[in-house]
């Protein structure tokens, strides 16, 4: 890296009557030939009680201004619209950069004076600007690389205490699909967290990953067949991380059972476990299946509640109910002798029970992928039982990519409840204590915690994790295309937000209120591999790059 470039002056601050510098913002003009881009970090001299201090700014937008008062003046200056004529003296103009104040080295937030020389910040100053210097070295997790227009690069560290707790927690990633960025970034961040955690501590962190698309996350323990490019390898190295897949002996795959009893997945990793749902192990989760079913008068909820309690307590009504088939075609919900629906059960009208049966038949019988079984095979696992046995230092990938939506809801909710239960009330039969931290990654969060007035039971579970997971040690790493489609209490509780390229209509929604107008316009221009990182420790979001995952990814 060119040392001379790092300290070169690029312009001078400029405050005018109409456009003053403030505690939050300042402007500076650029010397001719200087190239500056949004998200570059600059440094400018500031006063101090003793000596001088440095104020750091994040460039948000650049404007080119000339002395022409109107476009008409420019038209006239081109000889009334002559396209070919080049003026003898180019019109006076300069590019003015607007910067948001990131921080001051001595906590002085006086407005920056006019006519102060502005420099590109070098790597140590970038870290001071972001507050990284105040993080304990052990708490620094590389979250990406800040790359400036002058070639200077600096690692953007996030503070472990704000990602895994106790200060705050959770990470949310948003951005349009098709750029293969959100999942890759989540996996990169998880790998960064694990690699930068000392072995002893790492053994106390378990990771649960939901695979929702293709076989993207079903080979995370395999090296990429094509290898990584030299640039990607350098990026990994620059971040202080090792480009390697997750350890094979610590990755466990759970695949859903298909109709033929074989795993229902896009790729079959080896080894793997197959999970399925029978009635007995699903009775207390029926509400998750009904997450998308409108229930204005809570009648479905009443039926679900009666069934759950009936099966759990082995009530006489449910003596003959051992399978999904029994539930549909036996008493108490159906009279097999008369082959007719019952008129009333426990004060619930027969018509409501009919509705319940129709939904159950649709979800369990006619529109199911094979994950629902009347009886479990010896090799088929109960997912919640397996999750209750998770160990720190291990990664659990649960595939739901080929499941129907209601099945995905069930699995996701099942996992959430199980994790919550594991942390809140650890089972007595566990030989070891549960992992201190459980990182739970899920894509398409908008399905499970949609924005809206009605809060479904599943959404309630997500909110529980978002609001109380930090104290329990359950960390949600979530992603979705549109943040505006997700319940604001979930995203609001994420101390770290990652934003990929998004449409202008999306970023104009109130959910992006934490971004300045100028920064929002930049979000629409982010390219593949570029993300905006907003972290609790930083005063302003920064633009980062990150390397491709170092594991085999299935082509879409």
């Amino acid at each position: 890296m060119n040392e001379a470039k790092q300290v070169e002056a690029i312009g001078k601050t400029s405050a005018t009557d109409r456009d003053p510098n403030t505690s939050d913002k300042f402007s500076f003009w650029l010397a001719p030939g200087v190239i500056v881009n949004p998200f570059d970090i600059v440094q400018v001299e500031q006063v101090s009680h003793e000596g001088k201090s440095e104020t750091f700014g994040l460039v948000t937008i650049l404007e080119h201004r000339t002395d022409s008062p109107t476009h008409l003046a420019n038209f006239i200056s081109s000889d009334f619209g002559e396209l070919a004529e080049e003026p003898n003296t180019p019109r006076q103009g300069t590019t003015v950069a607007n910067a948001n104040v990131l921080s001051n080295s001595k906590d002085i937030y006086m407005p920056v004076s006019s006519d102060k020389v502005v420099n590109f910040a070098d790597e140590p100053r970038i870290q001071v600007a972001l507050g990284i210097d105040t993080m304990e070295t052990a708490d620094r997790i590389p979250a990406g690389l800040i790359m400036m227009s002058n070639g200077v690069a600096a690692v953007a560290y996030v503070d472990r205490r704000y990602v895994l707790g106790p200060e705050s927690a959770h990470v949310n990633i948003t951005g349009i699909s098709g750029l293969a960025t959100k999942t890759s970034y989540a996996m990169f961040l998880i790998q960064s967290i694990l690699q930068k955690t000392p072995q002893e501590e790492r053994d106390k962190i378990a990771v649960i990953i939901l695979n929702v698309k293709h076989g993207d996350l079903l080979q995370i323990d395999q090296r990429p067949e094509r290898g990584l490019s030299v640039e990607e390898m350098e990026l990994w190295e620059r971040l202080g991380l090792e480009p390697k897949p997750f350890d094979s002996d610590k990755v466990h795959y759970f695949l859903p059972r298909g109709r033929d009893g074989l795993p229902n997945c896009f790729y079959e990793p080896s080894p793997h476990n197959v999970y399925a749902y029978d009635l007995e192990n699903t009775a207390d989760k029926l509400d998750l299946l009904f997450a998308q079913v409108p229930d204005t008068y809570f009648t479905q909820e009443s039926i679900i509640s009666e069934i759950r309690e009936g099966i759990k307590n082995r009530e006489p009504d449910f003596r003959n109910v051992h399978s999904w088939d029994n539930l549909l075609n036996e008493k108490p919900l159906f009279d097999p002798q008369t082959h007719s629906a019952i008129r009333e059960w426990r004060g619930i009208k027969g018509s409501s029970i009919g509705v319940f049966r129709r939904h159950i038949r649709r979800m369990i019988k006619t529109t199911q992928s094979g994950v629902f079984v009347d009886g479990l095979h010896a090799h088929e696992k109960v997912l919640s039982d397996e999750i209750l046995k998770i160990r720190g230092g291990h990664v659990y990938v649960v595939d739901i990519a080929r499941l129907y939506e209601h099945e995905q809801m069930l699995v996701f909710g099942d996992l959430l409840r199980t994790i919550y239960k594991l942390k809140a009330e650890p089972p007595e039969d566990r030989e070891t204590s549960p992992p201190e931290k459980i990182i739970f990654f899920v894509d398409e969060l908008n399905k499970y915690a949609p924005k809206g007035e009605r809060t479904a039971p599943l959404t309630q579970n997500v909110l529980e994790i978002a609001e109380r997971g930090r104290s329990l040690g359950v960390i949600l790493v979530s992603a979705q295309q549109f943040m505006s489609a997700v319940h604001p209490r979930v995203t609001g509780n994420c101390a770290t937000k990652i934003i990929g390229r998004s449409g202008s209509a999306e970023v104009m929604s109130t959910d992006y209120g934490f971004l300045d107008k100028e920064i929002k316009s930049n979000v629409t221009r982010l390219s593949k591999g570029e993300l905006l990182l907003s972290h609790a420790v930083y005063r302003q979001p920064v633009k980062i790059r990150f390397p491709r995952p170092a594991y085999q990814q299935q082509e879409a």
Partner: protein
């Protein structure tokens, strides 16, 4: 940061103690510049040249056609003009002073001049800049007493601050009668002195390929510099006036029909053409007019025309080739234009406009000035 104009405070204190002061409304009133100050100056400086009867061009032009085509010659082909000088002035009426039975204005003026240099790329840089603050007072029998003048002279002052007696004779102020106008004219004379200093600062850099354009007439240039030009084949500078007197008559022969006024001449001057060069000031100056813009683009036939003056210290006529070259290069200067910023945009030269902006942006603001205008309370 102390007020940069604070050295004026002890002077005003002294005036306040020794004179009866009637302060201007609001402390200071900016004197608005006459919109055609240059034209007025041209009238004053060319007094005696109302009748133009001789050409100053060789070979002598044909009287039947005094217009010559001068298509634009752009910088990329011939970068002749490298230096551009402009001066600017901002003056304020501070108070009326009364001493005995004499009353007179007390004026303050900021005068400045800048020369910018244009590089090969077309970009301009400030080559040199000078500015002064002038406290303009009358001495003599309509002004302050000798005693008070002596006291004023003894007060320590920084170099940029001068006390000027605006009754001292000079061509511009002599033409004025009103004391405030006289003070303004004196300030303009001081501004021209700064311009002359800046012309001299480019002496070693100017040559046949590197010329200078002075905004306005070259006639104000004092005699001593004319002496120094006599030793050179050409001073390699021209004056370009955007505003000029509209009353000269051109006599191309003995008959009355051979007499033309300037409006008639300029109305017939086609776009990218020049007139023949005429002689003025006894042959010391050759001048002609160049049309920079099409008449159809403008409201009035005299718009879009500049008057070009070239010193001829040896009284020789200007070679037609040189006048053509200068005119062609000037036509190429028509763009960029400060349309919307200067009502004389149609005949402005953009580098000169930049030089003017440099000066104006370096003047102290009225707020700074008001910060030190504190007359002692009676």
């Amino acid at each position: 940061m102390p007020n940069p104009l604070s050295p004026i405070v002890p002077i005003l204190d002294l005036l306040g103690r020794e004179l009866k002061i009637l302060p201007a409304t609001g402390g200071a009133v900016e004197d608005l510049q006459h919109p055609d100050q240059e034209e007025i100056e041209d009238v004053v400086m060319t007094r005696g040249d109302e009748q133009i009867a001789a050409f100053s061009e060789t070979p002598e032009p044909d009287v039947s056609n005094i217009y010559k085509p001068t298509p634009p010659l752009f910088r990329q082909e011939k970068h002749l003009f490298r230096f551009f000088i402009d001066g600017s002035i901002r003056s304020y009426f501070l108070a009326t002073g009364i001493e005995g039975t004499r009353s007179f204005p007390i004026e303050l003026a900021q005068v400045g001049a800048t020369v910018v240099r244009r590089e090969d790329t077309g970009q301009v840089n400030v080559y040199s800049h000078k500015q002064k603050v002038l406290l303009l007072l009358p001495k003599q029998n309509q002004g302050i007493s000798d005693t008070l003048w002596d006291k004023l002279r003894k007060i320590g002052k920084p170099d940029f601050l001068e006390i000027i007696d605006f009754t001292l004779p000079d061509a511009l102020s002599d033409a004025k009668r009103d004391p405030r106008d006289k003070a303004g004219a004196k300030a303009r004379s001081e501004m021209h002195k700064l311009e002359i200093e800046l012309i001299e600062s480019t002496d070693t850099a100017r040559n046949e390929d590197t010329w200078l354009i002075l905004d306005g007439s070259v006639k104000f240039v004092e005699e001593d510099i004319w002496e120094s030009w006599k030793s050179r084949s050409s001073p390699h500078l021209i004056g370009v006036a955007k505003s000029f007197r509209k009353d000269p008559m051109f006599q191309f022969g003995q008959r009355p029909s051979q007499r033309k006024d300037i409006t008639g001449i300029l109305a017939g001057l086609p776009h990218a053409h020049r007139t023949a060069a005429f002689s003025a000031d006894g042959g010391k100056i050759a001048f002609w007019y160049v049309r920079l813009r099409e008449q159809k683009e403008l409201d009035y036939p005299l718009m879009g025309v500049v008057k070009v003056e070239i010193p001829r210290p040896d009284l020789s006529p200007v070679p037609a080739e040189l006048a053509d070259l200068i005119s062609r290069v000037l036509v190429a200067e028509r763009n960029v234009t400060p349309y919307g910023l200067d009502h004389r945009w149609h005949c402005s030269l953009y580098p000169t406009h930049i030089a003017e902006q440099v000066i104006k942006n370096r003047f102290y603001s009225k707020d700074v000035l008001m910060g030190c205008i504190k007359w002692p309370k009676p």
